[in-house]
Amino acid sequence: MPSTPIKQVTGKGVFVPGDDIDTDRIIPARFMKCITFDGLGEYLFYDVRKTESGEDKKHNLNDHRFAEASIIVSGNNFGCGSSREHAPQSILRAGYNAVIAGSFAEIFFGNSTNLGVVCVIASDTDREIITKAIDTNPEIEITIDVEDHKIWFGDQSVPCEIKPGARDSLLSGNYDPLDELLVGTDAVSRTAAALPYMQA
């Protein structure tokens, strides 16, 4: 069964500055000693937000003005590093459902799309316009239009990019590919039968 199509994502934004935000930063490995993804939202960006003694650092993610944000705006190569799905899972479970960045690391991008977390690319200049708008008015509503490749905020808009395959999957609601993969079982058996190393 397809999920609900995702044509647009609307919400308030928060700026997480920096390029190369790696998945260890998104969710430090020490919080991954668990056998389910439940509760990971609590540890999103933990070391970015907290001091070693557990107090809040000065950071947008701790700023009450951005407490209702559901869209993250960040830099280039967002999600680099480990393939841990714990990263998009913690983003989703902390209440965010989209990331606007200059670029995305590939594995993170795929993991996020599979969960319906929308990842779109906007230029440095356009992201700067968005972050300024958020800073001026944290209440500003941002809409990522997946179909039209646009990010709206207030009465302004900037273009954004999303990989065609991911866009199709979000628009059709088939971003979790399992059902479609399960349909191909016979074709899988035929492909496997032609490969000697696949034989039991």
Binding site: D22, K33, C34, G75, R84, L181, L195, M198
Partner: protein, 474 residues
């Protein structure tokens, strides 16, 4: 027009095209470990699905196993819970598990090759970004997320976009004291941490021809640090020689047929690449990272970059952030930074040859006062052979702690962690903020011998000087 290895393997494993244009790709070999698989088994149970090809999934435990404690229950109940969950999932689904009592446990990217599971012309997936390691054998190996682990368990396939292929030719002879680790750190420094996005890296040239399989693994291992999800070397006689006789390698007449088949997957000489990069091996120096991404590296003779010399504002910001975190001064020499910890191990440099090479030079030397040095074999097999060769004694006499197999301090999901802002000379693959377990801990990536040089001098040092190599070019 010929085809590259990537294209041939892709074509042989492509099942069909999906509605969104992606390919349903058969994953011949699936490797799992305790961190990214339990949730996938949970999803399978929730959906009432079973494992389709249980004989093509192999499990080991590596991230959470303590390296200083081998008797269960472990003192960390969360770690104990994770190993037990994996045992249960493997037993329920008929999956081969290289458990701690088998003598074959170890880091998943060390175990696959040493068991002969990793083979040319195959597709491999593992819920771990360093899966490209297996590309050293001419396999196309993907790091995947947990939902994709679920997909492989349930269907033996994943949905993927085809990658472009960039050939990276490294030609010539590496100077003495320059290693495979330096080659990959150099490549990432040159092409950037996101230069490989959308590409498979094909490593080639005479330097790679001359590399051992373990050296090829070191390079392929860090492909993801350059943004490339897949990295590989074309299979050759060295590949076949390494695999021959290993437990899961084909036997008898099957062996000859397999070798013929494996050869056919190598890139054709007339194939075209989406990009080609040429690197002169002689230009590569022992390389050390000074910052918080693997691309932030310099040669041991160089100085750390200064903020004002970075060409763009975003690079100036990155340099400033890295210098602040590392507590380094821009423009200062990389040499001489005082270290607290020396870590030798990981899926990048935790293989037998890494310990053999270091042992040659540290015999008779001592770890500097105030430095904690740990040597962590990548697998129980590596540990056993190293111990039979007496390497453990050499390490211990030099003041290293000789540990049990596991991921250890590479990512600190176990008791091996930095404390506070300790500075670690590390043979691992990531120097991200907080990577080694302390939110303020600092990591400098380098080759195993450079780690040893740092261990015995107490500071970042040129291994060629410390260990009395003949001068470069002599």
């Amino acid at each position: 027009m010929g085809k590259s290895l990537f294209e041939k393997v892709w074509d042989a494993h492509a099942v069909r095209q999906l509605a969104n244009g992606q390919t349903q790709l058969l994953i011949g070999t699936h490797l799992i470990h305790e961190v990214t698989s339990p949730q996938a088994f949970g999803m399978l149970r929730d959906k009432g699905l079973k494992v389709q090809f249980p004989h093509r999934t192999f499990a080991t435990v590596d991230h959470i196993v303590p390296t200083n404690e081998t008797v269960e229950p472990y003192s960390d109940p969360l770690a104990q819970g994770m190993i037990e969950e994996l045992r249960k999932n493997c037993a329920e689904n008929d999956i081969t598990f290289f458990d701690t009592h088998t003598g074959h446990q170890g880091i998943v990217h060390v175990v696959g090759p040493e068991q002969g599971i990793t083979q040319p012309g195959t597709t491999i997936a593992c819920g771990d970004s360093h899966t490209a390691t297996h590309g050293a054998f001419g396999a196309v190996a993907f790091g995947i997320g947990t939902s994709q682990v679920r997909d492989v368990l349930a269907t033996q396939t994943i949905a993927l976009n085809e990658l472009k292929v960039r050939r990276i030719n490294v030609n010539g002879t590496l100077a003495p004291g320059v290693y495979a680790k330096d080659v990959i750190l150099h490549i990432i420094r040159l092409l950037g941490t996101q230069g490989g996005t959308g590409f498979a890296y094909e490593y080639a040239g005479t330097t790679f021809d001359n590399f051992t399989m373990e050296e090829r693994m070191t390079v392929c291992n860090m492909s993801i640090e350059g943004g490339a999800r897949v990295g590989y070397v074309n299979p050759d006689e060295k590949t076949f020689e390494y695999l021959k006789g290993r437990p899961y390698a084909p036997k008898g007449t099957d062996w000859d047929a397999a070798v013929e088949r494996w050869k056919s997957f190598a890139s054709d000489s007339d194939c075209s690449y989406d990009d080609v990069v040429e690197i002169d091996a002689a230009s590569i120096q022992p390389t050390v990272t000074w910052g918080i991404t693997p691309g932030q590296g310099v040669g041991i003779e160089e100085n750390i970059p200064s903020i004002e010399n970075a060409p763009t504002q975003s690079e100036r910001d990155s340099v400033a952030e890295a210098l602040e975190y590392m507590q380094f001064e821009g423009g200062s020499p990389i040499k001489g930074k005082k270290i607290d910890i020396a870590f030798l191990g990981s899926c990048t440099n935790g293989r037998l040859s890494d310990f053999q090479e270091v042992a040659k030079y540290i015999e008779g030397r001592k770890v500097a006062p105030g430095v904690q040095a740990i040597a962590v074999p990548g697998s129980q097999v590596v540990a056993k052979i190293a111990e039979e060769l007496g390497l453990d004694k050499i390490f211990k006499e030099a003041g290293f702690e000789w540990r049990a197999a596991g991921c250890s301090m590479c990512l600190a999901m176990n008791p091996d962690k930095l404390i506070g802002d300790q500075l670690c000379a590390s043979s691992s693959n990531r120097n991200f903020k907080g990577r080694q377990g302390s939110p303020t801990g600092r990591t400098m990536l380098m080759s195993p011998l450079m780690v040893a040089a740092a261990a015995v001098t107490g500071e970042v040092a040129d291994a060629r000087e410390v260990f009395g190599f003949a001068p470069v070019g002599a």
